[in-house]
Symmetry: C2
Amino acid sequence: MDTPRRRGRPGHDLDAVLAAAVRLFNTRGYDATSMFDVAEALGITKSTLYHHVSGKEQLLSMAVDRAVDGLFEAAAHVQDLQGPATVRLQKLVESSVLVLAERLEFVTLLLRVRGNTQVEQHALARRREFDTLATELVKQAQAEGGIRADVDPATAARLLFGMVNSLVEWYRPERGHPEALAATVVRLAFDGLRTIAVTGDQATQEEH
Amino acid sequence: MDTPRRRGRPGHDLDAVLAAAVRLFNTRGYDATSMFDVAEALGITKSTLYHHVSGKEQLLSMAVDRAVDGLFEAAAHVQDLQGPATVRLQKLVESSVLVLAERLEFVTLLLRVRGNTQVEQHALARRREFDTLATELVKQAQAEGGIRADVDPATAARLLFGMVNSLVEWYRPERGHPEALAATVVRLAFDGLRTIAVTGDQATQEEH
């Protein structure tokens, strides 16, 4: 937003190139998008585009890195925090929502990657690494007694970040502040939707 | 599972045709799959395949209907229940997990549909209808005091079913019983991951 404009012809810098590429990859699919399409979307020639990047695979690589790097920066920050694992897990969920909201198109691309190329394989490996890290945090929080013990840690981690990742399907900046959304996700996941006023009887009276 | 085998040459009945088609659509993509590919996967000729279905779009239509119908049957069942909206919402979440686990490939296809054809447009419209229904249930549950009032109902519905839908990314039958998974989803979403033992002080001491 407020980052200083880079040198060079306006709209042709690397950020603009990446933004145009990721938009095309998400709407048409990576395979169906050519370097010509990216150049055309930017209103530049293909040779000008090759001045910025070596090819389509480099565009894909840089685009998924924007998403992955954001998530791992959040994870690194959380690892550095002191205090209960439950709080660190909560922070990781919050930060992930903010990264998704801020890098929506990049994370959308990351989540659609299926592993056909080396770049995609690498992205999938990084996603698995993030899942492992989240699962470890759930395990620690359970060991500390902060997270309920009656959920499988890997399942809980997948559900938590499955909920976070679902944002790419429906979140749009005009739908409200990312901070408010992060707070809602945390409330739902950590404290639950149910009000304390609902008694066990009420909650189960219709079971059969 | 225990449905009686239909008449006709084994493996060539409509269920087998649909299963083969949906598997190809999910792995290669709908556009990249031809009727020849589907016939080849079944070990039959294209003309035998056309004996079962009129074309690829009918296969897509029947496949997404399997997913959508399952979800709407669950919704209809829930609407018929008496009792608090909170309990009905909980039942809808549970049933949706079971439908997803049972019709995993079909729901995977449904969730990837982007609306390029009439069949896809129809599927998207049905998904929106389901979202509206879930949002209404959250609103009713809030009005009754069973669901916390400090979450936006549409956001809560999207997060709930975003979490449920994330199953298509990682759930595999060998990962455990769908019923146990449904119970975990409900526990997380309705009662929260946090144990009651964690005090407000503990939960916030690392905030800054």
